[in-house]
C-alpha cells in the first residue's frame, strides 16, 4: 500500500493522510495508491501539509507499517525516549520501529 505523509506546516508534527484529513496517528492512514500526486499537490497548496510525499507500507495487525525504517521512526518518535513517542506506554514499540 502507499501512504501519504508530510509535516504540519505550523507545528512540524509528522502527519498521515486519512482520506479526508491529516492525522498524527499512522493507524488512521489510508492507502492512496494512484492518487498520490493529486492529493499531495492540493493539500500542499492549501497549506494543510508541508512537503508531502508517498511511502510504501504494509498492513500489520490492522495498522499500516511503513517499509522503510526511517518512516517508522517518523510515525512513532525516538525509540531511546519512549516517553516522547506517540506510544509511551507500549513496551513493544521499539520492535515495531526497528
Amino acid at each position: 500500500m502507499r501512504l501519504l505523509t508530510g509535516n504540519d506546516l505550523k507545528t512540524g508534527a509528522v502527519t498521515w493522510w486519512t482520506g479526508s484529513d491529516w492525522s498524527i496517528h499512522i493507524e488512521d492512514a489510508v492507502d492512496i495508491s494512484g492518487s498520490e500526486d493529486e492529493i499531495a499537490r492540493r493539500e500542499e497548496a492549501a497549506r494543510r501539509v508541508n512537503v508531502p510525499y508517498a511511502v510504501d507500507a504494509e498492513m500489520q495487525d490492522g495498522t499500516p507499517r511503513p517499509s522503510h525504517i526511517k518512516e517508522r521512526f517518523r510515525a512513532l518518535g525516538p525509540t531511546i525516549r519512549p516517553d516522547l513517542t506517540l506510544k509511551p506506554a507500549d513496551p513493544d514499540i521499539g520492535n515495531w520501529v526497528i
Partner: protein
C-alpha cells in the same frame, strides 16, 4: 566574555523581525517551502524527522549562567524539557513549532543569543578551544579572534549563498583541542620569533563523505589583516567552489582539485586586491573585544590542597579536572555522558543547575565542548568537593572524560532525517558494556565517536575508534574504523573490514580493546598501540 553593545543588540533584534516576517509570509503562503527553506536554515531552523529542530548558536562555546537559564527556559516553554549539545558547541531543540520560532529567537535576543547562520550555505558558528583563557599552553585567548570573525561573518552580504556550509575553528596553542585541521578554515594563533602574534591559516579540511586534513596555506597572517585574509579565502571559494554536485561543494574539494598551491596563489592575489578595499577593522576593534576576555579576578594564593579521602571524588578529580594556568585552580568538566545515557543531552533542570554552579564556582562562565560535555573553566580547587557533590546528585558527575564512556554520538536515526542508522543506542550499549566489565579505567584515553550516516556529524573519522552507521539493504549496519585523531597529531581513521549489526558492533569494539590490552607498551594509549602495530592484529581478532 563578550557583551553586546547597542549595535550588536540592534542587529540581533533586526534579525528576529526579519525572520518573524519570513515565517509569517510562509504561513500565509506568500513563500513556498523551496523559497523559505534557505531562509529558515540561516536561522537554524530545520524540518527534521519528528518536528522542526532549532539549532541555537553558542559562539565559540562560551555562555554565562543567565544564558544557560534562558536555554533551560526555552526547553521547558517551547520544547520537551531538554536540549542537545552538539559537536560544534551549539545546542539543539528537537520539538519546535514554526509558529513559535520567532518568539524563541526574540527570547534569545533578550540574553544576547541567537540562531543566526547555524545552518545553511553560509559561515556557521565559529568554534574554539573549550579551555580558552584557562589553558597554560595558549599563546593568547583564541576567542577574541573568533568574536572578530563572528561579527565579520554575520549577515555577510557576499557570502550568504555559498556552494555549501562553511565551518571555522580557532585555536591558540600547539595542542589542538578544537579539531582545527578538520575544518573548512582552521586558524591557529601563533607567535613568531619577534614575539608578535599572527594567524596561521589552514584551509580545506573537513569530514563528511570525503574527509580531508587542511593544508596550511599561510603560516603567519598579521593580526591586522585577519579579516582581509579570511575574506580572500571566502571569495575564492564563493566564485570557484563547485555548484554542480552537492557532495563535492565544500571548500576541501576545491583545495584538493586545484591543489593547495594554486588555491593559495588565488587567495594571495585576492588578498592583495582586498587590502585596498578597507575591509579590515582597525586593531582598536580587536583590542576592544579583547577587553571582554581578560582574566577573571583570580584569588591569589588559592589553596592547592585537595582532600582525596573520598575515592569517588578523587577519581572524578583525576579524570574530569584539567590543569589551569592559575595556581589553585582547575578547569572542571561536567560529563553529559552518564553510562547508558544519551550523549550530550541535558534536561532543563540540569541546565539550571549547571548555570547556578557556574555562578557559584566558575566566575559565571561555562563552555560547551565539541565533545558534548560542559566545562566550568575556572574552579578553585578548594571548591571542587562542593561542586562534585552537587553534580553527582544531578547525574552530572560521571568521572569519564576522554575514556571509552565519553562517547561522541550524533543524534542518528532516532532524530535525524539524514541518518541511515541509530547511533545513540550503540553509544548506550557500549558505555554500559565497559562500565559493567570495569574496563573503562584500564583502557585510559580512548576517544570513541559514532556517526549515524556518512555526513559524519559524530566525527567518526577522527575517532581513535570510529563507528559509522550505514543502511545495508534496509537494515542498520555498522562499520568500525580505527586510528583517527582530531588533535594536533591529526589522522583519519581506517575501516577494519565488513560491518556488524547492532550487537556485533559492541562486541567488535570490545574485541579491539582486548587486542590493545594484550599488545600495549607502557604508557601507550589505544591510538598509540594501533599506530605502532597497525591494522592487522585488530583485523585478525575481528574476522579470524
Amino acid at each position: 566574555m563578550y557583551k553586546y553593545d547597542s549595535y550588536d543588540q540592534r542587529q540581533v533584534d533586526a534579525r528576529v523581525e526579519e525572520f518573524r516576517d519570513q515565517a509569517r509570509r510562509r504561513l500565509e503562503g506568500k513563500l513556498t517551502e523551496d523559497q523559505f527553506k534557505p531562509l529558515r536554515l540561516m536561522n537554524g531552523l530545520y524540518l527534521q524527522l519528528h518536528a522542526y529542530m532549532l539549532r541555537v548558536a553558542i559562539p565559540y562555546g562560551t555562555l554565562d549562567s543567565r544564558q544557560m537559564h534562558a536555554l533551560a527556559d526555552i526547553a521547558d516553554r517551547y520544547d520537551r524539557g531538554y536540549g542537545h549539545f552538539t559537536t560544534r558547541q551549539n545546542i539543539q531543540y528537537n520539538w519546535i513549532r514554526l509558529e513559535d520560532a520567532a518568539d524563541i529567537l526574540a527570547d534569545l535576543a533578550k540574553v544576547e543569543m541567537h540562531a543566526i547562520q547555524t545552518s545553511g550555505n553560509c559561515i556557521r558558528n565559529i568554534s574554539a578551544d573549550h579551555f580558552a583563557g584557562a589553558a597554560a599552553d595558549e599563546v593568547a585567548d583564541p576567542r577574541p579572534y573568533a568574536e572578530l570573525l563572528r561579527q565579520w561573518s554575520s549577515f555577510h552580504p557576499e557570502f550568504s549563498y555559498l556552494p555549501r556550509k562553511f565551518k571555522i575553528a580557532v585555536i591558540a596553542s600547539e595542542t589542538d583541542r578544537a579539531a582545527m585541521r578538520l575544518h573548512d578554515i582552521g586558524i591557529q594563533i601563533v607567535q613568531n620569533d619577534a614575539g608578535e602574534l599572527g594567524a596561521a591559516f589552514y584551509v580545506g579540511g573537513g569530514m563528511g563523505r570525503t574527509p580531508m586534513i587542511a593544508p596550511c596555506i599561510n603560516p603567519f597572517v598579521p593580526l591586522d589583516r585577519l579579516v582581509t585574509y579570511a575574506e580572500a579565502c571566502l571569495r575564492v571559494y564563493n566564485r570557484h567552489g563547485r555548484r554542480d554536485n552537492k557532495y563535492k561543494a565544500r571548500i576541501k574539494i576545491l583545495v584538493h582539485e586545484l591543489g593547495a598551491e594554486e588555491y593559495t596563489r588565488q587567495v594571495e592575489a585576492e588578498f592583495a586586491h582586498l587590502l585596498d578595499q578597507g575591509v579590515e577593522p582597525p586593531l582598536a576593534e580587536l583590542e576592544r573585544i579583547r577587553g571582554y576576555f581578560e582574566d577573571p579576578l583570580f584569588e591569589t594564593g588559592a589553596p592547592e590542597a585537595i582532600d582525596r579521602s573520598d575515592p569517588d571524588f578523587a577519581l572524578w578529580v583525576d579524570r574530569n579536572t584539567v590543569p589551569h594556568k592559575e595556581a589553585g585552580y582547575v578547569a572542571a568538566v561536567i560529563s553529559l555522558k552518564p553510562v547508558g545515557g544519551i550523549p550530550g543531552d541535558a534536561t532543563a533542570e540540569q541546565m539550571r543547575l549547571m548555570a547556578d554552579l557556574a555562578k557559584d564556582y566558575s566566575f559565571d562562565e561555562l563552555r560547551v565542548m565539541h565533545t558534548q560535555n560542559i566545562v566550568l573553566p575556572h574552579v578553585r580547587k578548594a571548591d571542587l568537593h562542593a561542586l562534585w557533590t552537587a553534580l553527582e546528585e544531578a547525574g552530572l558527575g560521571s568521572p569519564n572524560l576522554d575514556t571509552v564512556e565519553d562517547i561522541i554520538a550524533c543524534p542518528g536515526l532516532d532524530y535525524c532525517s539524514l541518518a541511515n542508522a541509530r547511533s545513540i543506542p550503540i553509544a548506550q550499549k557500549i558505555s554500559e558494556r565497559f562500565a559493567a566489565t570495569g574496563k573503562t579505567a584500564t583502557l585510559g584515553q580512548l576517544k570513541l565517536k559514532i556517526s549515524g550516516c556518512i555526513n559524519a556529524c559524530g566525527h567518526h573519522h577522527a575517532g581513535h575508534i570510529g563507528i559509522l552507521g550505514v543502511d545495508r539493504k534496509g537494515v542498520e549496519n555498522y562499520q568500525l574504523l580505527l586510528g583517527g585523531s582530531e588533535a594536533e597529531d591529526v589522522s583519519l581513521a581506517k575501516i577494519t573490514g565488513p560491518g556488524f549489526d547492532e550487537n556485533g558492533i559492541v562486541d567488535a569494539v570490545e574485541t579491539v580493546t582486548t587486542v590493545y590490552e594484550r599488545e600495549r607498551h607502557e604508557g601507550e594509549r589505544f591510538l598509540d598501540t594501533y599506530r605502532r602495530i597497525g591494522m592487522n592484529p585488530f583485523k585478525e581478532a575481528l574476522y579470524g
